[in-house]
Amino acid sequence: MWAICQHEFFRLFKSIKSLITVAFIVGISYLVSDLVNQAASFLPETELAQGHALGIFVLIMLFGPLFVFSLSHDVINRELAGRTIRFLVTRTSRNQIILGKFLGVAFFWLTCMIITFGVVFATVQTFDAKTFYLCVSLLIYCISLALLLSLVIPRPSYTMFLGIVIALILPGLGLWSTFSSHPAAPWIKYLTPFSFMEKDGAWTGFIWLYAAAFLIASMYLFRRRDC
């Protein structure tokens, strides 16, 4: 499991696309935190850290799903299509493969968030733990969903397309359902992570429950799938 995790982690860091994405997130976050810092005198002391992390928060909430799906839409089906998965399923259990892949991508985004928040901290000496937790929660939700999608849909080109569609719909749907009075909105809002973030507190645990459900579904399906 750890070998697969490590392989996936370093594979993401070796990709130019990933590095550009990370650099973009870090750059925007730094600029916003610096800008907020210049206006620090207008903000209450208690909200300063949150203000500094505003750039990261908005970026991840709006584009986090897009970042995750564009980099990891093919986390499983890439190996299925190339048949390199055969070298893995003949060596270790299928559950370990799923967990290894999930952890590899999760550690990549965790590292990305640590770097981003680290840069903000180094610049403005504040760290907003709540924003960090919410960003990581959303990313974990997206990673699990991308993993499930990559397992259900065999072709990487299809998951690339569908991933982008979901990544664009998910934040829009989430924000609409959270604030809309449409009869369907209360049902839809519980499918996306945004309403749980809005409710805050223990409700955010549901985001992790969704992620766990996607992960368990992936394991279940993979155990029954030909490679």
Partner: protein
Amino acid sequence: MAMIETIQLNKRFGNRTVVNDVSLTVHSGEIFGFLGRNGAGKSTFINMLTGILIPTAGTIRMFGEDARTEGWKKRIGVLPDYSTFYDHLSPAEHLHYFARVKGVTLTKEDCMRILTAVELEEHASRKAKTFSFGMKKKLGIAQALVGDPELIFLDEPTSGVDVESALHIQNLLRKLHQQGKTIFMTSHNLNEVEKICTRIAIMKSGKISSLGTLDELQAAHQAWRSVNVRHSPFTNEDSGNLRTFIESLGRNTIWEDGRLSIQVDDDQKVATLVRALVQARVDIYGVNVEVPSLERIFMGEESHDA
């Protein structure tokens, strides 16, 4: 000890049954050859054994335990039928990665020893994307040897490689067998299977149609031996009777200038033939008995369909 045991193993793709109720046992120390024409179900069968495909029905036991436990995967090595590798990794990096996935230690010396065994030592640090088909096949065999597995599955290990490399691979398989490894292989090279396999199964339309050692297969198929004799011309007045007697020993008798060719179904008839010639004062310059090849048995099996 049974290394592999399948009980009524079945695999269907949609409405098409590719492997049909196959029950088979492979014992420790065997080189088991699995034959069949394209589409017979060989690769599907081997892929189910190695965990690549999920059986539709039936039971697989590996090393005596239910295959669904997956713990036995550490004890096997597999060359799948279609091997593609990670383009950005070298053979050495592949072996180290696969060793870590398997949870075994692979030292640099072990890695080079495996690559040397498949003649890839000079390409240890070249990216796999630059490899030819034959080199990828060798890398496929190399990765199957990682972790010193007790049971090795090889799906067409010599297809696509040059003759010299094929002979090298055959020698490698013999060495592995001498070390006590159990090998389960498929091949279209019947000569290769005949030379190195201790037991053979022929698969036809998803079922095993023949199973046994080469001797057992020959006996089961009541194969006819071809006897070729080079002899002096018949001068005896009774040559007509001699010819009639010889022709009665077998079938498909061909008389040519100083050459006799006949098919007999019993070794004793070869002796009777030679004795008859000697008693008729015919000089014998050479006798050649051709035992039926696996190819003939295989073609005989396949022709039952026609």
